[in-house]
Symmetry: C2
Subunit: 332 residues, 2 copies
Amino acid sequence: MVKRKTNSPARRNTSATRTHDHVIGIDIGGSNLRVALADTSGQIVGKWTASTKSTSSPQMVVQQIRAGVYQLLQEASLPRTSLLSVAAGAPGVTDRGAGVVFATSYLKGWKNVPLGQLLENALGVPAVVENDVKLAAVGENWLGAARGVPSFVFLAIGTGIAAGIFINGQLVHGADWVAGEVGYLIVPGTPEAPAKPGSPGPLESVIGGEGIRQSWLHSNGERGSKRIQDLTATGIFYHALTGNRRAKTVLERSARILAFAVYNISTVLNPSLFVLGGGVGTNGPLLAATQRTLDPYTQPSRPKLVTSALGPDAQLMGAIRLALDGAKVIVD
Amino acid sequence: MVKRKTNSPARRNTSATRTHDHVIGIDIGGSNLRVALADTSGQIVGKWTASTKSTSSPQMVVQQIRAGVYQLLQEASLPRTSLLSVAAGAPGVTDRGAGVVFATSYLKGWKNVPLGQLLENALGVPAVVENDVKLAAVGENWLGAARGVPSFVFLAIGTGIAAGIFINGQLVHGADWVAGEVGYLIVPGTPEAPAKPGSPGPLESVIGGEGIRQSWLHSNGERGSKRIQDLTATGIFYHALTGNRRAKTVLERSARILAFAVYNISTVLNPSLFVLGGGVGTNGPLLAATQRTLDPYTQPSRPKLVTSALGPDAQLMGAIRLALDGAKVIVD
């Protein structure tokens, strides 16, 4: 699966004895921080998790990461010098070139954070930083539902909505690093007014997890038990399968709006595949209803939808892949 | 501007004396056929035009092209052997890899036409075939409004609507060669039903030239002189500037729909630039109204609009560029 490039300038030690070389992949989420240690074949040899809820300042998160990395190395009986590189995903607009996270509404106080530099200072190895949804696309392209597919769209639908877009084997970043911020799409059924900075985009405001929940509460009025009132988007969609009329209405409306979003992205790019991820995006009833809505839309091409193969590990696997790329390890 | 690659396998004669090397660019339109002869610096040395109205079968068009090419060579006192390669643009879905025009509603009887092979047989040199709007994007990227811009969208609005999309310096073709067929976009104000095969897409059915004219006739009822009734899209938009209320309504509605289309494409790809082309796309009042509508849409990024610098020559220049690429002439 993996071959080492010989004489690579990025390798700190070209001796053939360095079979203990490893990389670190990091997924920084709004609730959890996940760190994975992998060997140069991409096999995960250890995972470490912490909460980011009370400790979300960039400096504290980097200290957490450092503690996690060293713990993982220790548990694997590896010296610190066996670490070649790290890559981290952040839930916001990220300039991969400069290693800077511009903004994220999921972590308090994160604005223009030089995360790449902070990680390199803390760990002493090269660090790559990327938007988390783009990382998930990298993961799905490497080992998941879009394995080896050069042009596809990974569409993550959870609280927010964003896409990681591959064209001809390359991630699309855009002129301002906001390519794929499709939570801002405007289609029939979404608000038409401009989104305010820091607020959810038109599309995610209606079919992101919270938008769906609001739509449900609104349609429900005071009806139903507290358990019914408190359903999440996923719960509401499964509730629709029991025959509940109001839940069915929310499901059908959500599917129709999602279908227009998928159709429009497909019409612009004609990708081979859409990979749906995130808690809402991988919901069975929503996927089935969306596919049903899309079926008659055959012109100019028929979008093909599948669900994520890696699930919540997609970002982490994408991070490991970028760390391997950063270490100039050739992975087939 | 141009340097010849030495020892190129595609060059039939590597002798330094071959200063008379030339290429041909061809633009096959629904009404007109245009052929241009250019030297290896890309300078046009002759143009030839014919009508395709009565002679649109692929074989007849290729015979017309052959006649035009030989006439141009003769007028320039060049031997037939000085022709290195040709490239042609067709107004329909085109598989550049196979040199096949799948379908076009602008030329009767064109279905799965192996245009590349037909041209190579007729002219005895390598031929490249590309969709005309994608060719126009190549032209604008080479010498026009997007010169040297690696990621931009050329948006052609005439009778139909389509885009030529560049990402990281590469044209985007899509899995089925239909990337950029944005006449099919569905946004607030367009029909929401699936387009029928062979019919205009939702977006072009309302803001393509004919859609705008229908909207004008519909809003006008029986009012106005025949001259007013018979206005084209361009005429209607300029009529709006005279204060005509109904023309203003058509203009504002068209601009709002175009703004949503541009905004959505921008939200997916975050290109540096939109270059507007085509008779409707380059209309001053429409561009101004669209820009005004887009102004408050700053999230996730602000789309930047300019008009085509090459106008109707964009396709022809793109064809010349691809012919030069096909002849392995290095153009900076």
